[in-house]
Symmetry: C2
């Protein structure tokens, strides 16, 4: 397909590169930041534009990968002609695109993306939505071109999926940050936790998470937990988290039928 | 060394198997659960015992891998003769062993262990402590036999290390559970989150966690967060966690100098 990208952030970058590799052609890349537009446009052999109204209306697919709140403002300046307009957001319904195009869809790859970090789309599930059967077919084909597993879900399901990803990825990364900060207080390198972090993630690839839950909270070991809480005196927010997460673990593992 | 194991749980099992592979000899395995003692004793070519006072006092090393609160009760029935007595707990000081042996130490491998899941001790850091230089030397050698990186830390540092591991492993696994429960409510398989979970853990192997933090909380995107909170109405505890973790992320990333 002839694709234009609206946005040049992490997701736009990795998705653009993957689609290019899969044989698709890129026409233009828009970003309000000229350097970002240019870097990605160069990678994709496309033209960089810094004004949304500079986007030509002859692409067959416009992939909008903007921040949620920037999307309506930018899109009202874009003419997509007969092209398909899709967004890539977990938390936006399909209908936000209705004012801007006749053929609309959602193409949501569930992964955490960084510009510089290569990811294998083979292992990434893609969630698609469209009210138009033809568009749906095209989006499924696009996912197949990337080697991705494709799922058709509606906007409500996608929002809940996004929420679950916030717990599994964003919140998890914050726990890594807390643990790294705690180690730093003892002059211990974050290095020592890396194998544990990898193994914790690896374990749930073949086990239901609740079935491999370990730690003092499972048996609500007050002696250990009190020692830990005493160490968190200087960090009231982390202390509160410790209590709530421990209580949650205890209740959840109790109700889990082993 | 001629080793007896006191305990036959996850850690005892994996550590025993690894030490056996490294050429050490096992004399006896104690567990109050006969089946557990027997299974591990068979794996290690040792004798199973279900009473602590059945342990012979001629082993050169006694590795005590019991639950924290069970330890004093059991150890007071064990005679270790001239043997070295070590425990493997993150949250117990070295001194808890003082009443039970002349030569004591701590051998704490930082990993999450399951009986059935093989782990590579090559990648696991081991934290040792002893007030006796000779014991310390022996424990370092033992870690080296396993191919493990070895660190000498005191009991206070180990407790904080254990606390950081609770955040990085136990609490993280609970977040996986929440995300899996949220998916189940939408009839979506946990399968779809697995690549995201792995990538999140993989990212911090080569990046400081705070530097790769993503998600709506970073920019405190109220529109997205309010949608998520509305989905959590039925789960007040998770809703509270969502708010606190989001606030923590926002504050921590704000103070991080990129």
């Amino acid at each position: 397909m002839r694709i234009s990208l609206i946005g040049a952030g992490n997701l736009a970058t990795r998705l653009g590169i993957a689609l290019k590799k899969a044989g698709h052609e890129f026409v233009q890349v828009y970003s309000r930041t000229e350097a970002s537009a240019q870097v990605l446009a160069d990678l994709l052999g496309a033209e960089a534009v810094v004004q949304p109204n500079f986007l030509h209306k002859d692409a067959s697919l416009y992939i909008c990968a903007l921040k949620d709140d920037a999307l309506p403002e930018i899109l009202k300046k874009v003419e997509v002609g007969n092209g398909i307009l899709v967004h890539t957001a977990g938390s936006l319904p399909l209908e936000v695109l209705k004012p801007f195009a006749a053929k609309t869809g959602v193409f949501y790859p569930l992964q955490t993306f960084s510009k510089e970090r290569e990811v294998d789309f083979n292992t990434i599930p893609v969630f698609v939505e469209s009210s138009d059967k033809v568009v749906l077919y095209i989006l499924k084909q696009l996912a197949a071109d990337l080697g991705s597993e494709v799922y058709e879900i509606n906007s409500e399901q996608r929002l809940k999926l996004h929420l679950s990803a916030v717990f599994a990825c964003n919140f998890t990364n914050y726990l890594y940050t807390i643990s790294s900060d705690l180690l730093a207080e003892q002059n211990l390198p974050f290095e020592v936790l890396k194998p544990l972090i990898l193994e914790t993630a690896a374990k749930v690839q073949s086990n239901v998470p609740v079935s491999v839950q370990t730690g003092p909270a499972v048996r609500f070991d007050k002696a250990v937990m009190d020692k830990h809480l005493a160490l968190l005196e200087k960090h009231p927010a982390w202390k509160a988290l410790y209590k709530e997460l421990s209580l949650g673990i205890h209740q959840r593992t109790k109700t889990h039928q082993k």
